[in-house]
């Protein structure tokens, strides 16, 4: 069992973000922390009935580091008191450069955090400016170094490629600087500009040079090459880790093990077919939980086929790939085999030991391959 805690607040909204986050006042923020603990309380019996230890806690956002470490620490303490948290549990917090400094990191370690995920995005000033981040590349470097120097955390850096105005050269610099910090883990995301977002409007105006598909693909190839050389293992489409430093919490998502999301707009899954998501509106969420009601906005019981689709889609994100027996459950392999052979010839997939997986090049076109597998 895994526990995710969503902190939906940001100092300000990033121009490319279409996720659940808002800018909020101090009072709401403080009410919200209490609401989170109330929700955990409400779900205590669910946790108990699952009869498992909690193997990881993950504070994500939004911006969890909008709170001082002690505030988040209250929740960790609460969980440890009320639920069964494993002694070795992975406890991650996402932090933004420019919020927590060395002092807060020391405090965070004291609160029980053992993994930091730093929203670095880039080490290039121009890229950071276009992303509308409120920190500089020096903030990024300083925070990453402090985190590493403290030696109390596994450290992840988030990086983004395919940003307007970004070039292969500036991306290479960012990658080299990131590798220079020697973090345990790197997440590399292609920028997705949501339709109608502020960034989308600016891009439409034509003020920026937008990297073309091939250039973005080159950036991805470069990342794979540089990180591979530096000893990182490409274990999921967007994730690279030193051996043994993979993010246990995220792997649970892809392996379809149980997790419960706490907080507004969070998502939960109980194997093998139950998913629900929480109310997105923050005050509704707070009021509902404080009224001892479950803040569920949407709940679905997957059909067997939907569950199978998830299995295919999520397994193929991982470098270990998919058990071919799972495919056979719904598909005529005689028909699919031909298609898969074609992909293999193009070097997009591999087949070994009864498993099917994507090559690094295949991962970058995973939507196409997965959609074909599901549709074929």
């Amino acid at each position: 069992m895994r526990l995710y805690l969503h902190i939906p607040f940001c100092v300000r909204k990033c121009p490319y973000c279409d996720f659940h986050s808002v800018v909020a006042d101090e009072e709401t923020k403080s009410l919200y922390i209490n609401a989170l603990m109330n929700e955990i309380d409400l779900l205590k019996r669910v946790f108990k009935s699952m009869g498992e230890e909690i193997l990881s806690l993950y504070f994500g956002g939004g911006t969890p580091s909008i709170y001082p470490p002690a505030e988040l620490g209250r929740i960790i303490r609460f969980c440890k008191r009320e639920l069964t948290v494993a002694r070795e549990a992975e406890i991650t917090v996402e932090i933004n450069p420019g919020s927590w400094k060395k002092k807060e990191l020391i405090e965070a370690a004291r609160m029980g955090f053992n993994r930091l995920s730093i929203g670095a995005q880039s080490f290039d000033p121009e890229t950071l400016r276009i992303l509308g981040r409120n920190h500089t590349h020096l903030d990024v470097l300083r925070l990453a170094k402090s985190a590493m120097d403290l030696d109390r955390f596994d450290v992840n850096l988030d990086l983004i490629y395919g940003v307007p105005q970004q070039t292969l050269a500036t991306w290479r610099q960012t990658l080299e600087m990131a590798v220079g910090v020697k973090p345990h883990h790197l997440s590399i995301y292609a920028l997705n500009i949501p339709e109608g977002s502020e960034m989308d409007r600016k891009a439409e105006e034509g003020a920026w040079r937008m990297p073309a598909e091939d250039e973005i693909a080159d950036m991805y190839d470069l990342a794979c090459r540089l990180l591979g050389k530096a000893g990182y293992h490409h274990y999921e489409i967007s994730n690279f880790a030193l051996p043994g430093k993979e993010c246990a919490h995220n792997i649970a998502y892809w392996e379809r093990s149980a997790y419960i999301g706490i907080g507004s707009g969070s998502h939960s899954f109980l194997p093998s077919r139950l998913r629900w998501s929480n109310l997105k509106n923050i005050s509704t969420y707070i009021n509902t939980v404080n009224g001892d009601m479950l803040p569920v906005e949407h709940l679905e019981f997957l059909t067997r086929e939907e569950a199978w689709e998830e299995e295919v889609m999520l397994s193929l994100r991982m470098s270990r790939g998919l058990d071919l027996c799972a495919l056979e459950e719904f598909k005529n392999m005689r028909v699919l085999s031909d298609t898969i052979d074609g992909w293999q010839r193009e070097g997009l997939v591999w087949r070994k030991g009864g498993r099917l997986g994507l090559s690094e090049r295949g991962m970058l076109v995973s939507n196409q391959i997965i959609a074909s597998l599901l549709g074929g």
Binding site: G60, S187, E300, E346, N367, Q368, A371, G375
Partner: protein, 607 residues
Amino acid sequence: MEELKQERIRNFCIIAHIDHGKSTLADRFLEITGTVPAQQLSEQYLDRMELERERGITIKAQAVRMYHQARDGRNYLLNLIDTPGHVDFSYEVSRSLYACEGAILLVDAAQGVEAQTVGNAYLAIEAGLKIIPVVNKIDLPNADPETVSLEIQELLGCDPQEVLFVSAKTGEGVREVIEAVVERVPPPQGESSAPLKALIFDSTYDQYRGVVVFVRLMEGEVSKGMKVAMLATGKVTEVEEVGIFSPDMVAVTKLQAGQVGYLITGIKNLSLTKVGDTVTDASTQNTQPLPGYREPKPMVFAGIYPVDPDDYNELRVALEKLQLNDASLSFEPETSKALGFGFRCGFLGLLHMEIVQERLEREYKLDLITTAPNVVYETELTDGSVKYINNPSELENMAKVKEIREPYVKVTIMVPSDFVGAIMELAQERRGIFVDMQYRIGDRVEIRYKLPLAEMVLDFYDQLKSRTRGYASMDYEPLGFVRGNLVKVDILIKGEQVDAFSAIVEKSRAYQYGKEMAKRLREVIPRQLFEVPIQAAVGGRIIARETLKAKRKDVLAKCYGGDVTRKRKLLEKQKEGKKRMKMVGKVEIPQEAFISALRLGREGKGT
């Protein structure tokens, strides 16, 4: 209603270029003669079909009977036959003309004589009609009636005082035109006592009553119960009703020589009552047909396919219904690898094609893809037999073909002299052969070219308009088949031939066509997981190649906080999208890519 003697009948029509005000003038006639009360007169009464009114053109001929007390105090019966107004229907126009003794030649006072005016005026003179020249729209601020009158005098060789000046819009001068019809147009000839000879100048299909035949009686008379024969089709049938248009259909006891009206018989099939055919008394033998009959022959072909394959049957039913009212429309089932099941349709010309397409989409609510239009080719095979080809893909084996001949037309273009250079340039690009050029009054030039019809069906008219800033007008007539140096260009996508893009083109243009089509396809086909060569080939030899590079990036970012549902839905959408793709070999091509490539094929040629 009093029956009038033959010498008080006037059968006439109005010939004019599009937008020169024919329907407005006709409406004024209806109003002045009291045939339709002014308050009931919707604008352009005669153009009844919605589409006709919108485009301001007449597709089907209409006829209307009016009574008028002339200045001499006597009553006259006026039959106005409204002719189709476009070159595609020039055969129908010529038949309508033969139903008349006189024609009003209507010319816009601001636009002057246009190519079509010239073409139709010659048709009318050829048919022996008395011509009444009328200058319309004299109320317009930029009207130049004097110059236009001179143009008309030159065209017809008539006296200045013969030209009348009107504004059909305000009604000014219109009464004079009616008087001129009475005074100048001779009454019809022909004996009512002679054996029946009636000219079919149009026909229409009524869903309750079957075929309604529009006739002009040249000789004899016809009444209910009579057995009649159609000479060209040999169909014998009994007359169920005879009537006149006033302007709605009104039954009468009989029609006599010189009169215009309609017949309803037991015939339910429009193809048995062909325009130009002669209706005779079935009991008389060896009647000579009236001259000038021709089988309607489609010259332009295109494949019409439903966007949604489930609409195939609806499309067939819609085409059948349209054909009931339009005997010149032909269609037969056709299968395309790329587009699925559809029909190869034959049209009289481009406008006819557009009208059919629009009616299918508007009246039958069908979503359609139309392939680039092509013309009919005459091929002589090595065994000496002659075969007509209306679809490039029928030309499978070039080795068996000895010769391909393509249809030519004679194009008459009228244009201000400043644009002569532009016209010559355009005609040259389109393989035009210069015939002659004449200077007309008012700095206008009349140029004639011989041109392959294939060059015209794409965008010749649009180009003509845009290169002369709208000043040029054009008319054309078929010239028959001429031997050409033609080849079939095939398009191959990853080695698979795609029939919808094959074309028969002149040999020297093969490379250009192939290169352009391959380039367009590269632009509109989405990148695949593998490299896709797009090739153009002539008889198995590759003449052009483009390469669609493999798709490299299509990936979803992370699952924020484990939101798997959103991701699954995105992929399901993508999966559904894939299902709607057409497969050419292993290449997935969205319908939209086909449509846009075909559209481009119609627009971009040679420019």
